[in-house]
């Protein structure tokens, strides 16, 4: 029982980091991106490959993997910036599909659908995080770190500027700020932190394969942000907690896992429909008076 709870906490933590990072670019900067699963996957694969092939210390591995994810954020952001909102979302969607396709087909690097097994446990200064409870602490540490960093930036003039970009980009260019630069910056930060979640997942499952990072996952993460409340800090966390909890709870009450997987999708749809009908600003979202 305790193990199950710890497992759920770990998954909630990982998805909280994903939701928080997506919310940074979506809820604050107003950039509609549906490829967060791509950054998640890039972080996971980068972390896994670095630890399998190079065996670098964990802190360096984490930093490198996240930087690679951030770099991919730059690669998608730079050319798609000038597109209209709707077309930009399509472009990000395409990027997500491309990443999945690359992960599934670059056999020499990623072993394609066979995945990467045997990802080593994390060790920091010869402290091994091989127990569930210690791993949960590690994940929660990174959740706290993510919240601390993103909240600092959101509350600073940088955060206000991103929100202004969300409101009216033309007006922001008319006050002398380089909109393109800040949109790229928001995307890179967002993808960097999504990489953290990827690395944590890789070392937790010790096995990753492309199916975890299908484009549909981006919608789940998006759903968590919308459900929990865009544009707030607690919102995405609440969204992640809810949407991880419900399918896991279903499994716990004895539903065979075959049903649980499909039920997750049904639950997801129901939650989104409910929240948009009853409380469109999200569970913890603010309605402006």
């Amino acid at each position: 029982m305790a193990n199950f709870i710890l497992h759920v906490i770990i998954m909630m933590g990982i998805y909280a980091i994903l939701s928080l990072s997506l919310n940074f670019m979506l809820g604050y900067a107003g950039i509609i991106s549906i490829c967060h699963s791509a950054f998640f996957g890039i972080g996971a694969y980068a972390g896994a490959l670095i630890s399998l092939k190079l065996g670098l210390p964990f802190v360096i591995e984490m930093f490198l993997a996240c930087s690679i994810a951030g770099l991919c954020g730059l690669i998608i952001a730079a050319p798609t910036l000038r597109l209209d909102e709707d077309y930009m979302s399509l472009a990000t969607y395409a990027f997500g599909v491309i990443v999945y396709t690359v992960l599934s087909n670059w056999h020499s690097l990623t072993r394609g659908p066979l995945g990467l097994p045997g990802i080593p446990r994390i060790e920091i200064f010869s402290l091994a995080f091989d127990q569930l409870w210690s791993y949960a602490c590690l994940v929660l540490f990174f959740v706290a770190l993510t919240i601390a960093c993103l909240a600092s930036w959101i509350r600073s003039p940088l955060g206000k500027l991103l929100m202004a970009i969300r409101e009216d980009q033309v007006a922001v260019s008319a006050i002398g700020k380089n909109v393109a630069f800040f949109k790229i910056l928001a995307t890179v930060i967002s993808s960097f932190f999504a990489g953290i979640a990827g690395v944590l997942l890789a070392h937790y499952l010790t096995f990753i394969d492309p199916s975890t990072f299908v484009i549909q996952e981006s919608f789940i993460i998006l759903g968590m942000v919308v459900f929990g409340g865009m544009g707030t800090i607690a919102g995405p966390v609440a969204g992640a907690i809810t949407m991880v909890f419900i399918p896991e709870a279903l499994r716990f009450i004895g539903l065979p896992s075959f049903y649980a997987a499909h039920l997750r999708q049904v639950m997801f749809s129901l939650l989104i429909i409910m929240i948009l009908l009853k409380r469109p600003q999200g569970l913890l979202g603010k309605k402006l008076e």
């Binding site: 960093c149 600092s152 930036w153 600073s156 003039p157 940088l158 955060g159 206000k160 500027l161 929100m163 202004a164 969300r166 409101e167 009216d168 033309v170 007006a171 922001v172 260019s173 008319a174 006050i175 002398g176 700020k177 380089n178 909109v179 910056l185 930060i189 402006l288 008076e289």
Partner: protein
């Protein structure tokens, strides 16, 4: 001293010549009006000057240097600010935030400094807060500072936009129909505001339809019709200019 100058400015929208061979000179410290019937190309001229639209032909000089072709944020940084015909404030930000966001915040925008909250960052924040309040006082919106901009009346939103433009510390202010849709009281406030800005040494180029305002505060007027300059001169001459009267002044505004 000529602060802003355009030479032979042209803008072609795929066959529609919205602006033809428009040349103007704006002297430092003056208030210049750009008038003309609806659709004459006045806002297009503004968009060309601020870089929001690429020019088809011609040159634009600010303080003697070419600025056409530069991106809008660089042009604003060099000292030109503008307001929009249909107000473009940030609805879900407070009045205070709307204006503060326009200030120079090199420390606030630094990732590292805002993470670690250095002393210089906090000093900059306090300084900017103080400056923002001063701008709000100037436009008379101090009491509304914590309201969300979307909840303000139209006239007040226009004031927010003007305060925001002022906050970029420009030499030249481009005001696009600052009194459009406003009551007589608010129109007078804006008129006084523009007069106050001129006293501070700012240069103003504004688009306006209200002839009383135009004649009341302008030092020089340019008249545009179908994208072409049909007249320029001080208010007394423009009032009597037959071409202008025919094109524009015939109707009550």
């Amino acid at each position: 001293m000529i602060l802003l100058e355009t030479k032979g400015l042209c803008k072609n929208f795929g066959g529609i010549l919205a602006v033809r061979e428009f040349s103007l000179k704006v002297k430092r410290g003056t208030v210049t009006a750009l008038i003309g019937p609806n659709g004459a190309g006045k806002t297009t001229v503004f968009n060309l000057i601020t870089g929001h639209l690429p020019i088809t032909r011609g040159e634009i000089f600010f303080r003697g240097e070419r600025i056409d072709g530069l991106p809008p944020h660089r042009i604003v940084r060099s000292g030109i600010a503008r307001t929009f015909q249909l107000v473009r404030i940030f609805p879900r930000l407070t009045v205070l935030e709307n204006v503060m966001v326009a200030l120079r915040t090199p420390r606030g925008e630094s990732l590292w400094e805002s993470l670690v909250k250095t002393r210089r960052l906090r000093e900059e924040a306090l300084e900017n807060h103080k400056k923002t309040l001063e701008y709000l006082v100037q436009v008379g919106l101090l009491e509304n500072k914590s309201q969300y901009a979307q909840n303000l009346g139209f006239g007040q939103q226009k004031l927010v936009e003007i305060a925001r433009a002022m906050a970029t510390e420009p030499e030249l202010l481009l005001l696009d129909e600052p009194t459009a849709g406003l009551s007589q009281d608010m129109t007078t406030s804006i008129q006084n505001l523009i007069h106050g800005l001129k006293k501070q040494g700012k240069t103003i180029l504004f688009i306006e339809h209200d002839m009383r305002v135009v004649m009341g505060i302008s030092d020089w007027i340019y008249v545009l019709n179908y994208g072409e300059k049909i007249a320029e001169g001080p208010p007394e001459e423009i009032k009597k200019n037959q071409r202008v009267i025919q094109a524009y002044l015939g109707s009550e505004s």
